[in-house]
Amino acid sequence: MALFTYETKKDTRSGFGAGMEYLSQHNPKVVALCADLIGSLKLEGFIKNSPERFFQTGIAEANMIGISAGLTLGGFIPYATTFANFGTGRVYDQIRQSVAYSGKNVKICCSHAGLTLGEDGATHQILEDIGLMKMLPGMVVINPCDYNQTKAATIAIAEYEGPVYLRFGRPVVPVFTPEDQKFEIGKAVHLVDGTDVTILATGHLVWEAIQAAEALLEKGIKAEVINIHTIKPLDVQAILASVKKTGCVVTAEEHQYNGGLGDSVAQYLAMNHPTPMEFVGVNDSFGESGKPAELMEKYGLNAEAIVAKAIKVMARK
């Protein structure tokens, strides 16, 4: 039986574009910057409505981050946009000094995160960005799961004062969360009730986690699925309540084990409630070219992989 259904598939980056189009009409303080990737970031709607509030930086991401920091002086809310690799790892020091340490209200919004950008290969498939960004003091890190949630997150972060990293992707994925949902930073979304194992998923892996829960149910295993759209600050109350009930946990993300959601959960549980735990993610490896689904299978980032880890972790209780 399907736990969740969907009518359409859309890319999360289009959810970002829709959120930006909404902000162009509803928040005059929001400005957008892009490093020569307007089409990929779906910014056409924002630019059409508010051309004076859009800044093309060319292929110069370091400068884009610095300009964003400067634009905050005077009350603007800059959304600096590019691919996740170029918007985080390439400009880490600029984000660290000019944004995070300087406490500037800059939103770093990046598409094409993870393996699912596909054929372009490892140069573009950053799998370290969550870790890089969450290590910065004061940085909020958000990885929404579908079109509707990405749109809601894009709109919500304008209301939050402080630096944010918003991560989304290229492929079309099922749209299964409510339209016009309220997005609360740091508030996990409970998707499926269960008592045998907790599955904490983020981004594209949330849908896979739901599929895994369905497959586990057919084996008589009741998995609890929680959407951790905000990796930092982590909703530790929701996590703790669930693992106290189930006694074991699997994390799932399109990211390295190192520095990802699993790493944050493990750190919290080790200190507060040691719990058997398994990770679904990329284990200290770069990606490669291929179709998104092929890559997710090869690197063990799909529902099947989550099912296998769930069974493994339950045996460790």
Partner: protein, 285 residues
């Protein structure tokens, strides 16, 4: 303001710099002394700063409707701290805390400790021009006609981000910006010509579309005249770059004509020898 008045303040600022660096036995006196004349002119003469009814400067982070200055080469922090304190942003007594535990006067400037007058962290080089451009564009969006100033080092021109910013500002007609390069010809590993030649900075910035001027950064009269000329050239479609020749260590004879004093603190005797060359005009902190 008369240049004699500016020079009096500069003498005191140079004393502050030397005493701060001596007090913690760390920091960067050479470039700080070299850029003193410029910063004193900016904060005491050229820039329009927000003040209260009594004429005291008032700090708020947004800095709307006032001129803003960004220090990109953050290692000359003793200079900006002294100038801000002497201008009235915070008590001069706080200069004694420079680089010491729990201080707001961190080794490199930061708004993280809520020090009045500092709007961005700098220290990791090459970022300040981008920030200044963003701030200038925010002013344009706000219909704010005031000016943004930015100081960089000449060694800092090695950084690639500087040239991303150099390309961006003329393209976007950021013509409410006056930037400076402190051309002292020195960087940590030696003369810039030897470490990484800038070749012809004027030709480079002109090719990028900047209105480039030159001045003697240790001559108070030339600074005043050049800044009058630069301000008259604002609003004409191009950002302005002033390449200013300075001497590291300017004002202290044994610290000049060498990069030796880039990041070295004077000992007790050297401090006394240096202070003997600089009149105490406003009272030491």
């Amino acid at each position: 303001m008369q240049t004699q008045e500016i020079q009096k303040i500069s003498s005191q600022v140079r004393r502050d710099i030397l005493r701060m660096v001596h007090g913690c036995q760390s920091g960067h006196p050479g470039g700080s002394l070299g850029c003193t004349d410029l910063l004193v002119d900016l904060y005491f003469n050229t820039m329009n700063l927000k003040t209260d009814a009594a004429g005291k400067v008032v700090f708020d982070m947004d800095g709307k409707n006032e001129d803003l200055f960004f220090l990109s080469n953050g290692h000359i922090s003793p200079l900006i701290y002294s100038v801000l304190a002497r201008r009235g942003y915070f008590p001069t007594a706080e200069l004694a805390t420079f680089r010491k535990i729990d201080t707001r006067l961190q080794g490199h400037p930061t708004p993280h400790e809520h020090l009045e007058g500092i709007r961005i962290a700098s220290g990791s080089l090459g970022q300040g021009l981008s920030v200044s451009i963003g701030s200038a564009q925010a002013k344009k969006l706000n219909g704010d006609s005031s000016t943004v100033f930015c100081l960089m080092g000449d060694g800092e021109q090695n950084e690639g981000q500087v040239w991303e910013a150099a390309m961006y500002a003329p393209h976007h007609k950021v013509d409410n910006l006056i930037a400076f390069i402190d051309e002292n010809g020195q960087q940590i590993d030696g003369p810039t010509e030897k470490v990484m030649s800038n070749r012809d900075l004027q030709a480079k910035y002109e090719a990028f579309g900047w209105n480039v001027m030159r001045m003697d950064g240790n001559d108070a009269t030339d600074i005043q005249n050049t800044l009058i000329k630069a301000k008259a050239a604002l609003g004409q479609g191009s950002p302005i770059m002033i390449i200013m020749k300075t001497e590291m260590g300017a004002g202290v004879d044994f610290m000049m004509y060498s990069h030796k004093w880039h990041g070295v603190a004077p000992n007790d005797q050297q401090l006394q020898d240096a202070l003997a060359q600089l009149e105490e005009t406003l009272g030491d902190y």
